[in-house]
């Protein structure tokens, strides 16, 4: 175990001594992967810390907010703040101005370090509402040459100030990090709350290190391993994997060139470790399926031939069953001919493990990745636990489980199925005192319910509050039905309803990727998502898909009526969290009329006024679709 006195900046100081000239970070810029060594990393953090301390009067316990894409500057800023005993607060870069008002007033940051003009504009727009913010430091100056505002500063100039103030041989950073303690709050992470306002979760250095150490004890990380950091660093999982894990193990963190180049960058880096929510794996799968449909007949034939064996081996592995040597041989041949090429194509050629975090990846997708030899592992955890607490073990996977607990993590199931967890990574409290964390003898619940089998595999059924009680009193787990629907490559998102109702209903989003190429092939002209979602042939296809998927479920758990929404659910409308989890309560409110209509006899359902307003105030009617029995 990690000693409680270790902190992230202390680890940085250690790495900088041990591996001064080895690569710590890579950032693609102008088409080239620029390398930053542990020595450079340390030096920049030192200069920034000097400037923050002497010019900006940043002290122990002060908060520094960071808003931006994943870049080395993000890490420099966080570590500089922490070295001074301060707290780093990551804020999702896509937050709307009014959300920024909430975050910044909640965390009480005086200094905000941001990426670029976009963020600066947002902050200046709400300047009057965030009186506590005194300095805005940005690291990408493009388009800001004419910005003259007393609160603004250029990141590079701040670092240069640090340089001019630094004295040779003074060892500023080494001295200040000595004063940091394991119990100091290291970060405030906002939980991706699916209900209500996000809460600021305070995590100490010891919390973060305990979570990373637990995971590392299960999945050994080599110091030359590569990691691609492309999800928001404000998200606890990305935070631990991109910052804590590398500081602890020496793993190299790579930052993509731009958010839209991630897939190409993934292929160039070929990381050993990856972490993403289910949505990313689904889109890789849907991309692959689309490309396979466009492949030559010969290629498709070969893939189909070996897919059988891939599926067999994957199923055997996921269900812990033996496999015949004949199948094993065919699988090895398939691996040589097809699967290795596919892995290479999607950038997962060297992957040792790819974690699924935030939600459950449905079985079909998990099986697919295992069939092509990609070790995708489901995890379970949360912001309050500094990330992952449960993970699939390589040699002991139960499909549909969230894996077993990490070393040092205890678990118990309450009487009503609620999951309680206890370990060293549990947060110390919420940033606002008014939000008192429930003290339960060290046990916390993330609000999920589930069960454990005899070998310690945890099976999550659903959020406790989301469980649907049918009129006959039967308990239905909506996420299970939703995952079943999302198993179709044509369905991107599904949300089920039916509390105290005679049957289940659903709102669907179609998968644009799949339907885009489908429309191309069938020569169907469309303008955008809403146009395509209303196409009668699309409706027919989705109706057939849903009927087929529902036929495998018991009668009472079947979706009987549903609507294809003419808009994609998104985080800006509050329908999803920034980590793309659906917010059931908001959806229930926004689409109330529509959901009620699904329980009436009409075949036309009305979209809520708020949504219809975009279409000149006319009430918009959507066709509700029936599932054939």
């Amino acid at each position: 175990m990690v000693s409680s006195e270790k902190t992230l900046p202390k680890l940085l100081a250690e790495q900088a001594v041990a591996k001064e000239n080895e690569v710590a970070l890579r950032q693609k810029h102008l088409g080239i992967w620029n390398e930053i060594t542990w020595g450079d990393y340390y030096k920049t953090v030192e200069l920034l810390a000097i400037a923050l301390s002497e010019e900006y009067d940043f002290n122990r316990g002060d908060k520094l907010a960071i808003i931006g894409e994943n870049r080395p500057q993000w890490l420099f800023s966080q570590l500089a703040a922490q070295a001074l005993g301060g707290i780093s607060v990551g804020i999702y870069q896509e937050s709307l101005p009014e959300q920024l008002v909430y975050y910044l007033n909640d965390c009480e940051a005086r200094i905000v370090i941001v990426e670029d003009q976009e963020q600066v504009d947002k902050l200046l727009e709400i300047e009057a509402q965030i009186p506590l913010v005194k300095h805005i430091i940005s690291y990408n100056q493009q388009g800001m040459r004419n910005y003259k505002h007393p609160k603004l500063a250029d990141f590079d100039e701040v670092v240069a100030t640090g340089k001019s103030l630094s004295k040779e041989e003074s060892n500023f950073l080494r001295k200040v990090v000595e004063r940091t303690l394991g119990n100091d709050t290291a970060i405030i992470a906002y939980s991706a709350s699916t209900t209500g306002n996000p809460k600021g979760v305070m995590l100490s250095h010891s919390n973060l290190l305990a979570a990373a150490a637990g995971l590392e004890a299960v999945d050994k990380v080599e110091k030359k391993d590569d990691y691609l950091s492309f999800l928001p660093l404000a998200w606890i999982h990305e935070q631990v994997m991109s910052i804590t894990m590398p500081l602890m193990t020496g793993m190299v963190t790579n930052f993509p060139e731009k958010p839209h180049t991630v897939l190409a960058d993934l292929r160039e880096i070929g990381p050993q470790t990856l972490l993403a929510p289910p949505r990313v794996y689904q889109s890789i799968l849907s991309n692959f399926t689309t490309r396979m449909q466009g492949a030559s007949r010969f290629n498709r034939k070969i893939y189909q031939t070996f897919k059988k064996y891939g599926d067999k081996v994957a199923k055997a592995k996921l269900n812990h069953q033996p496999i015949s040597s004949g199948d094993k041989f065919m699988y090895m041949l398939g691996d040589l001919l097809v699967f290795s090429a596919i892995r290479d194509h999607i950038g997962l050629a060297r992957i040792k493990r790819a974690y699924v975090a935030g939600a459950t990846l449905e079985t079909e997708a998990l099986t697919f990745f295992h069939s092509i030899g990609v070790n995708v592992k489901q995890t379970y955890g949360g912001t309050e636990l500094a990330g992952i607490a449960f993970v699939h073990r390589d040699e002991d996977i139960r499909v549909e489980s969230a894996g077993t607990s990490l070393p040092g993590t205890e678990v118990k199931i309450g009487e009503d199925g609620e999951i309680f967890i206890k370990n060293q990574a549990i947060f110390s409290g919420y940033s606002k005192v008014s939000e008192v964390a429930e003290d339960n003898d060290g046990w916390i619940s993330l609000g999920d319910s589930g069960r454990m089998d005899d070998n310690g595999h945890l099976f999550i059924s659903d959020r406790k509050e989301d469980i649907i009680t049918a009129v006959n009193g039967e308990r239905i787990y909506p996420s299970m039905i939703e995952n079943r629907l999302k198993a179709s490559p044509y369905i991107q998102e599904a949300v089920c309803f039916g509390n105290n109702k005679p049957y289940l209903t659903a709102l669907l989003n179609i998968d644009m990727n799949m339907f885009g190429s489908w429309a191309n092939k069938n020569r169907i002209v469309y303008t955008d998502y809403s146009d395509l979602s209303r196409n009668s042939e699309v409706r027919k296809l989705i109706e057939d898909e849903v009927s087929k998927l529902m036929s495998h479920l018991p009668e009472g758990s079947r979706v009987k009526k549903f609507v294809i929404l003419p808009k994609q659910l998104n985080a800006n409308d509050g329908e999803m969290t920034r980590t793309l989890k659906i917010r059931r309560k908001t959806l229930n409110e926004t689409y109330n009329t529509l959901i009620e209509d699904l329980y009436s006899g009409t075949s036309e359902v009305e979209l809520a006024d708020a949504l219809a307003a975009g279409e000149r105030g006319k009430p918009v009617k959507e066709l509700s679709l029936q599932v054939s029995q």
């Binding site: 810029h29 102008l30 088409g31 080239i32 493009q142 388009g143 040459r145 060139e257 731009k258 839209h260 180049t261 190409a264």
Partner: protein, 256 residues
């Protein structure tokens, strides 16, 4: 310092057709200058004269005070004039990166042998050129399609690559012939922002032909209006909007 480009009494005649008839104006360094006018007014012919595709019948063109009226097009390129065409002039089967690199071909000096062997000065030159091209890629946000063949891209992106090919030459004066034609409004906004950045960030002089008068009036510092080869107006956007001859050409004359 005088204007970066001066056009004096320019005439261009094809047989009996007067494509340009006594056109004179000047462009200041670092400004955004627009050429407008109805279809067939001679706007593209005017650009062709500046870039050297056409030889004017009479008159002269001065670039930074130097006579270029009868200079070969590639020589004008080395002086710092680049052009993006209205109809996309790219190699459809080559990647975005290769098309942009090809744009810089006239600026490369190494010979066939050293270039082929990639030794000495040639490799350094190649690296420098790649950096220039990469800066254009970043400027126009083309990172994700760097290696995509141009022919596979949607029209709006091809137009952006076409502008990129001209930008890759690192010109002082860039001629953009209807860079926003056929684009939807969000693509137009993006292009307008990029043109502003060329002026603000890169300090280039931009000559723009564009039909969307809203955009022209918003972006330009000076405007010249052509109608049937004749210059009927020259001045700031405000002056042009008040110019009776321009109003007549665009809206027609009120019947009395």
């Amino acid at each position: 310092m005088g204007p970066i480009l001066e056009v004096k009494g320019l005439h261009l005649q094809f047989g009996g057709v007067k494509a340009l008839d006594d056109v004179s104006y000047h462009i200041e360094k670092g400004e955004i200058f627009s050429l407008i006018g109805p279809n067939g007014a001679g706007k593209t012919s005017m650009l062709n004269c500046i870039s050297g595709l056409y030889q004017p019948t009479d008159g002269s063109i001065l670039f930074k005070g130097q006579e270029i009226t009868h200079m070969k097009p590639y020589k004008r390129t080395t002086l710092g004039i680049a052009r993006a065409f209205q109809n996309i002039a790219l190699f459809a089967h080559m990647s975005v990166l290769d098309n942009l690199k090809l744009g810089r071909h006239t600026l490369m000096n190494s010979g066939m042998i050293s270039g082929g062997l990639y030794v000495g000065k040639a490799s350094k030159e190649e690296i420098d050129h790649r950096r220039e091209v990469e800066e254009v890629i970043e400027f126009l946000e083309l990172q994700d399609i760097r290696h995509t063949p141009v022919g596979k891209l949607p029209y709006g992106l091809q137009k952006r690559v076409e502008v990129g090919r001209a930008l890759a030459l690192g010109p002082e004066l860039i001629l953009l012939d209807e860079p926003m034609a056929g684009m939807n409004s969000s693509e137009k906004d993006m292009m307008a922002r990029m043109i502003l950045d060329m002026h603000e960030v890169k300090g280039m002089t931009v000559v723009l032909i564009e039909h969307d008068l809203g955009i022209v009036m918003n972006l330009s510092h000076h405007i010249a209006v052509l109608d049937f080869g004749k210059q009927i107006g020259f001045g700031t956007p405000e002056e042009i909007q008040k110019n009776p001859a321009v109003i007549k050409a665009y809206i027609g004359e009120e019947a009395i």
